[in-house]
Every structure is written in C-alpha cells, then in structure tokens.
Assembly symmetry: C2
Homo-oligomer: 92 residues x 2
DNA sequence: TGCTTAATTATAGATTTAGTTAATTAACTA
DNA sequence: TAGTTAATTAACTAAATCTATAATTAAGCA
C-alpha cells in the first residue's frame, strides 16, 4: 500500500533509520543507540517500517537484525516518475 | 526541506490533489469539488503543498489557479536513488 | 533454576494533524 | 455601492502520532 509507505517515510527518525540500514544490517539495539529516543519508541518506528515493507527483520539468537528491503523503493520510484512524465517538464 | 516534502506527501488527499494537477492546472474550487471535504480543509492542504514547493499558485481574477511544481520531484528522485545504489540490489 | 541482556508489548500523556463552522478578504457585477 | 462568488484565515474539536515508563517475552549463561 502506497499510503503506508508514505506514512512511514514522513517521520525524520524513520528516514534516518533507513539511512543507517543503507550502510549495513543492524540490530534493534544498535539502531536505538544512534538516537536520543527510548528503545521502545525506536521499536515502534521499526514496526512501522516493517509494515511498510521498507525493512525486514530476522532473529539472530538474542538479537533481532534489521535490514533494508529495496523492493518497495522501486514502487516509490514508479510513483514519482509518473509526475516526471506529466507536462512538458524540464525543470532547471 | 526534505521533511516538509515527505510530510506533504504523507496524506492521501494531498497526493490525490497532485494527481489531479498532473492532468491540468486547476482552481482551488475545482480541486475542492473532487472531494467530500470542506473547501477550507482543501485550502489548508493546498497551503501545505505550496509550503513543500510541490505546487504553485497564481491569482487569475476571482480565482486562484494551482499548478504542479515538478522541480521538487527531482529532489525526491535523488533521495530514492540513493537507496537503489545501496547494497548489491537487484530486487526481483 | 535464577540472573542478565535484548527487544517487544501495554498503557498513558503531550503534541500534531485533519476536519469542521464562522468570519474575513478580494474580485467581479448589476 | 450593494450583493455575490471564490478563496482564505481564525477558532475549535476529534483523531492520530510520537514519546515515555512499566511490564512482558525470549534467549543466553552462571
């Protein structure tokens, strides 16, 4: 659902999480350490990102490892490209 | 500001407005007629879209005509393409 | 088993957002 | 000028969102 994705992307914390995962897969704890926000709050953000299919998670023993799911970005790309082909567009 | 843009895109009504403007420039009233929402509410949505630089407006006599501003979509495109080039990505 | 660490779920508070109606601004027209 | 139409701004309410703390689940280890 495109709405879930845009909602997920509308929060700066969640976009930063995606930026982090762009570099490498990370555990929930490691992600949380990058923010001045409680772990439960980060966990909630991760849940939203997962619901939007922007990330996936896998338990590794005691840890849960999150990784970027690139498929949805393709959808997003398509959505934006619709607009590029709209009018006689050649911005700047 | 990328945050303003994503916030603006996070609402379905605003995305539909963009879809409408993709076809042609429209007055505030014509836009409002496409929704079961009051005109003041649509006016607020248009203000947000304008703040995000996704649309621009121009008074034409009694009417105010809104049109798509494609420049910001390029920014958005860049943001997404960052992710495409992340890992060894070849989704599906 | 009992203790510790990692992470989530539950619950609640504060802020933000989307919508409403009422009032206001601006332009046209008889 | 008075009245009408188009759109916005103002003030308010209801719902959603973000964050926190407390409680719970799950895994590892002495």
């Amino acid at each position: 659902m495109v709405n879930t994705v845009f909602k997920a992307l509308s929060d700066p914390t969640r976009r930063t999480i995606l930026d982090l995962l762009r570099e490498q897969d990370m555990t929930a704890g490691d992600i949380a350490d990058h923010f001045d926000i409680s772990k439960p709050s980060i966990s909630q953000h991760l849940t939203l990102l997962k619901q939007a299919d922007l990330v996936s998670s896998k338990r590794d023993g005691q840890h849960i490892v999150y990784s970027l799911n690139l498929t949805v970005f393709n959808e997003l790309l398509k959505w934006i490209l619709q607009f590029q082909s709209s009018k006689g567009s050649e911005p700047q």
